[in-house]
């Protein structure tokens, strides 16, 4: 009996690597610590009622952001392990297989479990406030989206200590990801972790499209929407067209592995190229899905911190919509070298290059907005300004890669690695950091410390260039991506060492950010204005943090910068606003179903990973039961009485004085 348990444990848990052992111990200890703290302070009920079952978009947004920062840590540690391994020639720090696992999880986590939730967190916190709505269109679905993401991410992450991580690259090309080449459970974790969280992303896309189209404040025509909301809209349109393709692709790969189907296998008539086409039909729009909202953030910040209207509003909107459309006609540039032929390559080369045009228009618009503006160099603006040269370089190297004949030289080299990190870190990460700094006071009612923020800014930025500029040259020197070690006479040692130093500088930047958050919480100076940056859009017209119903009275909008306009008017006429009449506010009730249903999905996925049908089948039945239970429950909302609204508003205003 004991032998059997021992044998099971040795197959079930990943053992034998000191790094993983350390992780297991620290996971165990932090779980014990969490349980202890929550029990000691009697916070379980609070956690359940106020957070886990909450359907408030602001809380859901905060939960997204917390998870995303944790995932940034995990993905960042992966990155530093890789850089450590590559710092010296002939390094023995990591084994080849372990290295494969690390670059795979680094890619997946950074794109899908760090960038996406950070983006959804900002969607959730900002969009309803910016358009003057009290909630998103489907609060219940919103909560379900979050928990599907959360449990999907957990499923992916446990692969590290249970069963083994996937190691076929972040897009898991077959035949490498097929049972024949990856017989372990790692690929199953990949499929189900992404599938479960992907369904959540798709639901978020639908939710925000409807929210933006149907729930804007009176008077807010589409062309008067704040630019961030426009960017969310473009991003969501891409989500609803791209994510179903991902769902299908992963499902087919699963059928190959689970039922022995032949979609992408080398035998049985399967076609691996089919997978590569499908995954990039999702994957290329995906990178625009994460970068477009960053463009929206920059637009808001540039305009606020230059005290000017955004230059070329209409061209900005047009540019974003064009990018969302073109993003679906570029996927084949990811495999120019796989023999599609000259005509196909030419088509995709040109459509890829075309994207530079609207993007360039946007960069000029931001520059013209700053031109002759009264620029304030607060942290959100610093990140925005740093983004521009970074993204311009990244964009230009992207155009170099889009030239099909040149790509035959660059593809799969460190030149490519440097390019996409430049656009993804310089565009997405810098953008979301800027957004986080900018909207932090709206979320929590206090600003983040600017001094530490500037330390974080400079270490991140300097670290970034030190890390990735050498990689362009390494790529031109012939170093290919996913190289796990290299010989001394390749001559790649010095540049790799420099790159590693840069990577660790960015790690220091992250530590500064964590320190900054901790410091700002400890020494918080409450923002009593609700409008600490002298903002222009509606979210700054209400107290921070916003009350549960957001707007006591729905605002009327005449201009894109609605709040700015209102402030100008108020300063012109000293008249007191008319007496406000409060009405009862319709709100959704909390629900435990999203949390439970997603947790059941986690168990179903875990069962699929290990082929444990005794776990999967009951879990799926549980999913069905929770869905039916939701369908049968009609008592899902309530009213906040007018008196209570009045009291809350008075208290908030009292706090303001």
């Amino acid at each position: 009996m004991l032998d059997k348990i021992k044998q099971f444990a040795s197959e079930f848990f990943v053992t034998g690597d000191p790094l993983i052992l350390g992780a297991q111990v620290s996971i165990g200890l932090s779980m014990i610590a969490m349980i202890f703290v929550l029990s000691y302070f009697r916070k379980w009920g609070w956690l359940w009622r106020e957070w886990l079952t909450s359907v408030d978009h602001k809380r859901i947004g905060i939960m997204y952001i917390i998870c995303s920062i944790m995932m940034l840590f995990r993905g960042g540690v992966d990155a530093l392990l890789m850089r450590l391994q590559l710092a010296m020639p002939n390094s023995q720090f990591l084994q080849a297989e372990h290295y494969n696992q690390i670059f795979t999880t680094h890619g997946v986590i950074m794109i899908l479990f760090m960038a996406m939730p950070l983006m959804f967190g900002l969607f959730n916190i900002v969009v309803p406030l910016q358009i003057g709505a009290r909630d998103v269109a489907y609060p219940f679905l919103n909560s379900l989206s979050f928990w599907m993401f959360f449990w999907g991410a957990m499923l992916f992450n446990v692969s590290f200590v249970i069963g083994g991580s996937p190691d076929a690259g972040w897009l898991s090309y077959p035949p490498l990801s097929e049972l024949s080449h990856s017989p372990g459970v790692g690929q199953n974790f990949y499929i189900w972790g992404i599938q479960i969280s992907g369904i959540g992303s798709l639901a978020t896309g639908i939710n925000f499209i409807v929210t933006i189209l149907k729930m804007r404040a009176p008077g807010m025509k589409l062309m008067k929407m704040p630019m961030f909301t426009w960017s969310v809209f473009s991003s969501c349109i891409m989500i609803i067209f791209a994510f179903p393709i991902l769902t299908v692709t992963l499902a087919l790969l699963f059928l190959d592995r689970f039922l022995g189907a032949h979609f992408f296998t080398l035998d049985g008539g399967g076609n691996p190229m089919m997978y590569i086409n499908l995954i990039w039909m999702w994957g290329h729009p995906e990178v625009y899905i994460v970068v477009i909202p960053a463009f929206g953030i920059f637009s808001e910040i540039v305009s606020t911190f230059s005290k000017k209207k955004l230059f070329g509003y209409k061209s900005m909107v047009f540019a974003m919509l064009i990018i969302s459309l073109l993003s679906f006609f570029t996927w084949a540039h990811h495999f120019f070298t796989m023999g599609s032929g000259a005509d196909v390559n030419a088509f995709f080369a040109i459509s890829t290059m075309l994207i530079a045009i609207p993007t360039g228009a946007k960069v000029f618009n931001w520059l013209f907005t700053m031109f002759r503006g009264k620029i304030r160099f607060s942290t959100p603006m610093m990140w925005t300004i740093a983004f521009i040269p970074c993204f311009v370089i990244g964009g230009m190297t992207g155009v170099l890669l889009s030239v099909a004949p040149a790509d035959f030289q660059f593809h799969n080299s460190y030149f490519l690695i440097a390019h996409f990190h430049q656009v993804l870190i310089g565009g997405v990460a810098f953008g979301y950091f800027a957004g986080l700094y900018y909207w932090w006071p709206k979320m929590f009612g206090f600003k983040l410390n600017e001094h530490l923020g500037k330390w974080a800014f400079w270490t991140w930025n300097i670290g970034f260039y030190v890390c990735f500029m050498p990689q362009y040259f390494l790529g031109l020197d012939g170093m290919t991506r996913r190289t796990y070690t290299y010989d001394f006479d390749m001559g790649w040692g010095p540049l790799n060492l420099v790159s590693t130093v840069g990577g660790f500088l960015m790690g220091v930047g992250f530590i500064f950010q964590v320190w900054q958050i901790a410091h700002s919480i400890k020494f918080r100076e409450p923002d009593v204005t609700g409008d600490p940056w002298d903002g222009r859009t509606l979210e700054w017209s209400i107290p921070s943090p916003a009350p549960i119903y957001n707007f006591a009275v729905l605002p009327e909008v005449n201009e894109a910068d609605a709040w700015w306009e209102q402030k100008q008017k108020q300063s012109l006429s000293a008249k007191q606003p008319a007496k406000i009449v409060y009405e009862p506010i319709h709100m959704p009730k909390n629900s435990s179903i999203p949390f439970l249903m997603s947790a059941l999905w986690f168990f179903a996925g875990f069962g699929f990973v290990f082929n444990w049908m005794w776990l999967t089948i009951p879990a799926l039945i549980g999913v069905a039961i929770t869905m039916i239970a939701r369908s049968f429950s009609y008592d899902t909302d309530y009213y906040i009485p007018a008196d209570e609204v009045k009291r809350t508003e008075a208290a908030l205003k009292g706090a303001k004085v």
């Binding site: 489907y138 639908i206 609803i240 039922l259 049985g268």
Partner: protein
């Protein structure tokens, strides 16, 4: 408090109406995503349908009389679901439930016939999902449609119970409208399955 409650009652009506139309609109967008899902499966089928790997071909496998019967049954069920909606608009509960029940029966016989077709293929022709890429794509595409129909059946039965309990309200009206949309959508998808998979397969 009483004042607030009466006010709340008045607003509840407006909000309910807004809310229900909002949900129908969201469902349309969901159907777009489902279109893309089926589109990807159709594309996969088109790429792989000639890769029979020496196994049975579409001509050998597809028994058209059964398929045509399935098609008629599903098309009819779409029609009867429309009759159910008409009944609902007239406020005729009997007609609504009755036609929904007919739709469920027709849908269930469609799924039953499809299952029999699959079982026959596996038993008599040895055509399983792992036989060839063509069959993998076939089972994935047709099976996904069948799964959608089956989900719709459970949904419809659940809705009938809710209608019995709550009558025709703004909420149940929206629910019936949504499922009838879903049902027509599956019908349209089936017409494509019928053409692309079966007709082009035996041609």
């Amino acid at each position: 408090m009483a004042h607030a409650a009466t006010q709340g009652g008045h607003h509840a009506h407006d909000h309910e109406h807004d809310h229900e139309s909002l949900k129908t609109f969201g469902f349309w967008i969901f159907l777009i995503t489902d279109c893309i899902l089926f589109g990807s499966l159709f594309a996969t089928y088109m790429v792989l349908h000639q890769n029979t790997n020496g196994g049975p071909t579409p001509e050998e496998l597809f028994k058209m009389p059964g398929i045509i019967a399935e098609t008629f049954i599903l098309l009819t069920s779409s029609f009867t679901s429309g009759l159910a909606v008409l009944g609902m608009h007239k406020g005729n509960m009997k007609q609504l439930i009755g036609w929904l029940a007919v739709t469920v029966l027709l849908g269930a016989s469609f799924v039953g016939l499809e299952l029999m077709e699959f079982i026959n293929m596996v038993n008599h022709e040895g055509a399983t999902i792992s036989t060839s890429a063509f069959l993998s794509a076939f089972y994935a595409l047709v099976g996904t449609h069948g799964l959608h129909v089956s989900v719709g059946l459970i949904w419809m039965v659940g809705l009938m119970l809710q209608l019995k309990r709550r009558g025709i309200t703004a909420v149940t009206k929206r629910k019936v409208a949504v499922i009838s949309l879903y049902w027509h959508f599956l019908d349209v998808v089936w017409i494509f399955v019928f053409t692309v998979v079966y007709l082009m397969g035996v041609m």
